[in-house]
Amino acid sequence: MTTLPALGGIQVERDELISGSEAIARACVLADVDVITAYPIRPYDTVMQYVARLIANGELDCEFIVADSEHSQFEMVKHASAVGARVFVGSSGVGWFYAFEAITVTAGLRLPVVAMVGNRALDDPGAFGVEHNDALAVRDLGWLLTWVDTAQEALDTALIAWRVAEDPRVFLPCAISADGAFLTHSQQIVKVPGKKLVQQFIPPYNRGNLVLHPDNPITIAPQVNEDWLMEIRKQTDEAMRRAKGVLAEAYQEFGDIFGRRRDPFIEEYETDDAELVLVGMGTLAMPVKVAVRKLREQGQKVGFIRVKWFRPFPTQELQQSLSRFKAVGVVDRDFSMGSPSYGGVLFNEIRSALYPLPQRPAVVGFIAGLGGREIRVPDVSNMIDMTRKTVEEGRTDQQTHWIGVRE
């Protein structure tokens, strides 16, 4: 077993070859996380393997508990967060679902738990490969939810996640989604910042008069009747609305401190003169970008938009961006059986976001890359063709296409 280079004392940025999971484990060290709970399931568990080694080697000082189930795992960090501890947790696929009761109450209680979801197909049948349905299941509950594309983005987003989740204006949990295998298990060069800079970026977690401690005697979450619950839901709704601004603020300051400036909510690629774009989340960005470059060499005006934050949903950003194009093809690495047009989740969210616009682009949906199947460059070209044809032919009979499925 190789020993990881010492990190704790390093105050300067350094380049390292690490996976997405390892990058998030590094972020735990940088953010000085207090409590981490683990339970094994592929592929997210790689992050906990790294965490365990960092603790064993004295790089990370935190309580590390291997739980008896995902439900316990998520309940533990929820309660640790209530007493004021910075926490990290994670899961994949049906493990995430096993924890679901704890996941929903964490948002209800406004506890800033940061979780990594190593996206994995849901059972049955058992499958290890990526699908986005696991993480997407929290989309209605009050979790901040983001997809990252690279190991660098995984590390950076984790730091942003603690800062925004623990901001008293927000106090919401945050799930960082990383595509199973493609990101959790692939190593890339990552700039790991110094700990001092990170401390400058993330203030200590201060729960104020909501903290559970004998010095602040409070009752948290008493049973509520119909006279009060709607107001409590409204508070969470407002927190989610405020999160948008707090996220933008965090990305701005992140750029100032670490020099890596990014648009917080969406990434646009080759869209300046584009007539047609594909939209998707996570690691499919790479094959799409390759295909876009190829097609542009052939003179096609195509581009790509990657949605980074799914909750809060970048409604205005997507309205402004997508209204510029004639046609939009949405690539879903998920399914939503029986949904409108039998489309994927992202597809229907985007259609819904575009509905109020006076000029709407045509929107075509693709279900692709389920169960860890690769989305390859020819698949992308195919989707772009189909999007174009749909517009040109004015076809409305079928709006959702399954890509690469054997017939």
């Binding site: 008069n209 009752t219 009747n225 006279d227 107001e231 927190a239």
Partner: protein, 387 residues
């Protein structure tokens, strides 16, 4: 008639089956006259707690559309008849879900009826019922309130007696003949048919004018807007208690200021401070922590915190030092200790004596099951006495 709504107010669990039988009976009797109806419990009262007030409803209409119109609001805004199955509920209805204290006649419409099962006089009942803005009828079904537990039903005919009384005070609902027919069909008992008829014949009714009744404002609270509620579903804890009445000695716990026991009792402890051995067992065993500890080490039952279970009387080693007395015999919730201090030994003993004696007039009380065969024995004895 269009629609008639009936509300049954009762002691949770103790009278759950009874209330259900009554509401079912109402719907079946109305069917005899070609009407349709529905029966339901207030969801906020479920799951019920022993002795904590709860509500069930029966709504009857000429046709489907009228019925739907009346059900478009879950808890009816007003009712033709409210039936209080325990007369101590005349002090108000305080659900375990936090709705404040609702006057028992809150929903009774103008010239509607409040039926109470009671051995008290109409005047005594009117004194404890909150004032209503409109005139209404108070009907008294003579008899001890019927109490039993969750599993074993005490079949003392209260169910059919209430139906008989209803046909008299609300003839637009159904006739006595329909009630008799229903009782025969549903309960298959001629004795019960006779009980229903007797209740019809003997029902006493008195008009209550708007100015009559308890002038107090029933406890209510302000519902905060979301901006003023603390985030994270957090509410402040109750502060720590301190000395008795704020002094240095004794102890008085701080208590939940928003949830007092206004109407959860049908009995309350009367403490005889002159015979109290200061053993502390009443205080120690009280699930509600209702006893304040006085400077001299006596235990003063704080009625704002007492739910009337009677454990204190059972664990008290001195006979007569604590006696559970019917809540109907009290008009206020003041401290008995302060009464004892103010009145002196003689005056206080007179007061205690009056309460204990008056309690005997209420007969043997049973808030649920005592032992196997108890109800059968008691009912056989009661029927023998009646004959």
């Amino acid at each position: 008639m269009a629609t008639v709504a009936v509300e049954v107010v009762y002691r949770g669990v103790f009278q759950k089956s009874l209330a259900k039988e009554i509401c079912r009976g109402i719907v079946f009797a109305a069917r005899k006259e070609g009407r349709i109806g529905t029966a339901f419990g207030r969801y906020g009262d479920s799951p019920e707690r022993n002795g904590i007030p709860a509500k069930q409803y029966a709504v009857v209409a000429d046709g489907e559309e009228e019925l739907e119109a009346s059900l478009s609001q879950y808890e009816p805004a007003e009712v033709d008849v409210t039936i209080a199955l325990d007369d101590t509920l005349c002090k108000g209805v305080e659900s375990w879900a936090w709705y404040g204290l609702q006057p028992v006649n809150k929903l009774v419409k103008e010239n509607g009826t409040l039926i109470v099962t009671s051995v008290q006089s109409p005047e005594d009942l009117v004194r404890s019922i909150h004032r209503n803005g409109v005139p209404y009828n108070l009907a008294i079904l003579r008899g001890q309130p019927s109490f039993s537990g969750l599993w074993v039903y005490r079949d003392d005919h209260t169910d059919v007696r209430v139906l008989g009384a209803l046909s008299k005070s609300c003839p637009q609902l159904f006739s006595l003949a329909s009630v008799e027919e229903t009782v025969k069909e549903q309960w298959r008992s001629d004795l019960k048919v006779a009980s229903a008829r007797r209740a019809y014949e003997r029902l006493m009714t008195r008009l209550v004018e708007p100015g009559e009744g308890n002038p107090e404002e029933a406890y209510s609270y302000h519902l905060l807007p979301w901006q003023e509620m603390r985030e994270g579903v957090v509410v402040p804890a109750v502060p720590k208690g301190n000395g008795f009445r704020g002094g240095d000695k004794g102890f008085e716990p701080a208590r939940n200021p928003h949830f007092k026991k206004f109407a959860t009792r049908s009995m309350r402890p009367v403490v005889n401070f002159d015979t109290c051995a200061k053993c502390s067992l009443c205080w120690l065993h009280c699930p509600d922590g209702c006893f304040d500890i006085t400077p001299e080490g006596l235990y003063d039952a704080n009625i704002n915190a007492c739910c009337g279970c009677g454990i204190c009387e059972e664990v008290c080693p001195v006979k007569g030092a604590i006696t559970m007395v019917n809540e109907a015999l009290f008009t206020e919730n003041g401290s008995q200790y302060e009464l004892w201090k103010a009145q002196g030994k003689e005056g206080y003993q007179t007061w205690v004596g009056e309460k204990v004696t008056a309690q005997k007039g209420f007969g043997q009380w049973s808030h649920g099951y005592h032992h196997k065969g108890q109800y059968e024995t008691e009912l056989a004895l009661a029927s023998k006495e009646a004959q």
